[in-house]
């Protein structure tokens, strides 16, 4: 594949790198401890064009192609906290793509533009206490009454949930209709009946806030319905593609950084008279890991390339099964690769690696989410098998 990055991509990469290294990295230890990073981070990312990189200019974006978002995701990991990266990527690539694709003029002005400027924090409301991977099993309902929907239900594991300005909410407008009864509503968090039930404690991604949300008779204006009623499941499946793609790209770059930092440690760390990286057993293990990482990057880039072609060059609204399959494969493969990299690098650090003060312990905790969030590895395999017609 030819080199996808132009001079503009490289300049943007430099900006994101400076932002991550100078404005995130020095603060993330504190944010991890606080279990929250400040709202201003969204604003600053918005100012620099990080959130809207690949969105059209008329939607408040940078007007670039998807490779801008790839550069962004690859550099954000230098901030050293997957929690912060996730909070930002939910804002830019998970809760908002469908608004750009389907939103009315009003929805774009009211939700998308302030979200991409970092002024209105966005969350994606899919999972529920009783439904995660089984999206069709959600129980949150939206009943049409006059010009409003009356929304009732609960959402959980919601990133940015404790302080979001609105939720891109998946709900059932026809509770008896299965997949076909699902719709997406844009729900402002300041409506009466919308409450943050609790802030959830997590294994990793500590700097990111995660919430359980309750909605009790929340009156949502019908004009906040995204696209058409009953199409929500299909919209969400499209929306998931960028979420998975950006997660794969980000985690691959993160794993590369972890490998480089671990090798640097191994050059200084002496055991039995020589640096531990000079031990052949570790050299071979690192060779395997770097090779896996390189393969993961190639697969992810290939998926981005296909996605970029269908969306930006051919201008298709619906992605082909081939692209969906490749994106699912990339997320699946990267999940396993990142898992192995984090685990072996922690092992390489020995006792030091088990300590909170060593970066690798945070990496190890954080990366575990990748096989779960945005669709579990098992769901990826289910989807891949489906598209292959087994």
């Amino acid at each position: 594949m030819s080199q996808p990055f132009t001079e503009e991509h490289e300049l943007f990469r430099k900006t994101v790198r400076s932002f991550a290294e100078k404005e995130l990295l020095p603060n993330v230890d504190q944010w991890e401890e606080d279990e929250l990073f400040p709202d201003e981070v969204f604003k600053r990312a918005g100012e620099l064009g990080i959130l809207g990189a690949h969105y059209p200019e008329e939607h408040g974006g940078g007007g670039g192609d998807y490779w801008f978002s790839v550069a962004k995701a690859e550099e954000l990991v230098r901030g050293g906290s997957a929690g912060v990266t996730m909070g930002l990527l939910v804002q830019s690539d998970m809760a908002t793509p469908c608004i750009s694709d389907l939103g009315s003029k009003e929805q774009i002005e009211e939700f998308l533009k302030p979200a991409l400027a970092g002024e209105r924090i966005a969350a994606l409301g899919v999972s529920e206490p009783d439904a995660g991977s089984d999206v069709a099993g959600i129980r949150t309902t939206a009943r049409r009454v006059g010009d409003d929907y009356i929304v009732n239900g609960a959402k959980t594991y919601i990133t940015n949930g404790t302080r979001c300005g609105f939720v891109t909410l998946l709900c059932k407008t026809d509770p008896d209709a299965g997949y076909g009864g699902i719709s997406i509503l844009l729900v402002p968090s300041d409506l009466p009946g919308f409450t943050v039930a609790k802030k959830l404690k997590k294994l990793g991604n500590h700097a990111s806030d995660t919430a359980e949300l309750h909605l009790e008779d929340v009156k949502v204006p019908a004009r906040y319905l995204l696209g058409q009623e009953g199409q929500g499941f299909y919209y969400l499946m499209q929306n998931f593609q960028t979420e998975r793609l950006i997660a794969a790209v980000s985690a691959t770059a993160g794993a590369k950084l972890t490998l480089d930092r671990s090798v640097a440690y191994g050059r200084d760390r002496m055991a039995f008279g020589k640096p531990i990286i000079k031990r052949e057993v570790w050299q071979h293990r690192f060779v395997d890991l770097y090779t896996l990482n390189e393969a993961a990057r190639a697969l992810s880039y290939d998926a981005v390339s296909d996605y970029n072609r269908e969306r930006y060059e051919l201008g298709r609204e619906q992605l082909s099964f081939d692209v969906v399959r490749k994106i699912s494969m990339a997320k699946l493969f990267v999940g396993d690769m990142a898992d192995r990299v984090a685990d072996e690098c922690l092992q390489f650090h020995g006792g030091m690696g088990y300590m909170d003060e060593c970066f690798i312990s945070r990496v190890w905790r954080d990366q575990r989410l990748l096989r779960i969030g945005g669709g579990t590895s098992e769901v990826m395999k289910y989807l891949i098998a489906k598209t292959m017609g087994f």
């Binding site: 001079e7 943007f12 430099k14 900006t15 801008f68």
Partner: protein, 269 residues
């Protein structure tokens, strides 16, 4: 008013420099805008934003076509136009560089020539002074603070000296070089600055919007010949060598031993 800012590309200071034979090996080297020049661009942008008196910021660089990349990054920060004088930026000495800048100055006739105090590759710190001399302009070097008069007729330049800051008011046009402190939050002021106006410390990062706009900004390419500049080499590099590596230290047992070693081995007493 018009501000002309010079920007040189230098090897990334955060990279390890490789020495090949008797020269620095520039192959595979990553280049960046000289940090002090980036500070000068930032200072120019602050002057423009707060005064309303600056119509145009022009960034000048010398080098091969590759240097367009660094020039573009200054435009992405917010400068208005670029000038690339094609030449071999590695081999130019300070005198040659000063001659080129003088010629461009005469073509552009800016009201202020703003430069980094030195480039971090050669660390010569000579060009601005040479240019000012050739143009017979006032010069104020190592600015840590700048304050532009309301009618843009003069600029007050503050620089750090032992025990404090020294301020000098310089009529425009003139040549000013900037030091690191020029990118502190309140270092640049104009008559239009708000009382509590503060910038984020450091040169700004190019926003994506700025990067996209920079694509459409004009870069004039000029050859040294077009400028009518004669370029004979004044400084020749005869050899390059690394400093001798430092040997390990020792612990001495007593003061007497220390004095003895300082006298007889190090020969510093």
């Amino acid at each position: 008013m018009k501000i002309l800012v010079t920007a040189k590309r230098v090897p990334d200071p955060e990279q390890k420099v490789k020495v090949q034979g008797d020269a620095i090996d520039l192959s595979g080297m990553n280049f960046v805008v000289n940090p002090f020049d980036e500070y000068a661009v930032e200072a120019a942008l602050r002057l423009k934003e707060s005064s309303g008196a600056v119509d145009e910021i022009v960034v000048l660089t010398i080098g091969s076509k590759d240097v367009t990349q660094q020039l573009r990054s200054c435009l992405a920060m917010g400068a208005d136009r670029g000038i690339l004088v094609e030449g071999d930026d590695d081999s130019l000495d300070s005198e040659q560089t000063a001659r080129i800048i003088k010629a461009v100055y005469e073509r552009e006739s800016p009201d202020l020539l703003l430069m980094g105090k030195q480039a971090v590759d050669g660390d010569n710190n000579q060009v601005a002074q040479l240019v000012a001399g050739k143009l017979d302009l006032p010069q104020a070097c190592f600015a840590g603070q700048l304050e532009l008069e309301g009618d843009a007729s003069a600029i007050t330049v503050g620089r750090e000296i032992d025990g404090g800051m020294e301020f000098k008011k310089v009529p425009l046009p003139s040549v000013v070089t900037v030091d690191l402190r020029i990118v502190m939050p309140t270092a640049v002021k104009t008559a239009g600055s708000k009382d509590n106006q503060e910038y984020a410390e450091g040169p700004r990062y190019a926003s994506l919007k700025g990067i996209m706009q920079a694509k459409k900004k004009k870069i004039d390419e000029i050859s040294v010949g077009d400028l009518g500049v004669e370029l004979e080499q004044w400084v020749k590099t005869t050899s390059v060598e690394t400093p001798p590596s430092r040997s390990a230290g020792i612990k001495v047992e007593s003061v007497d031993e220390l004095v003895d070693k300082l006298q007889n081995e190090a020969k510093v007493l």
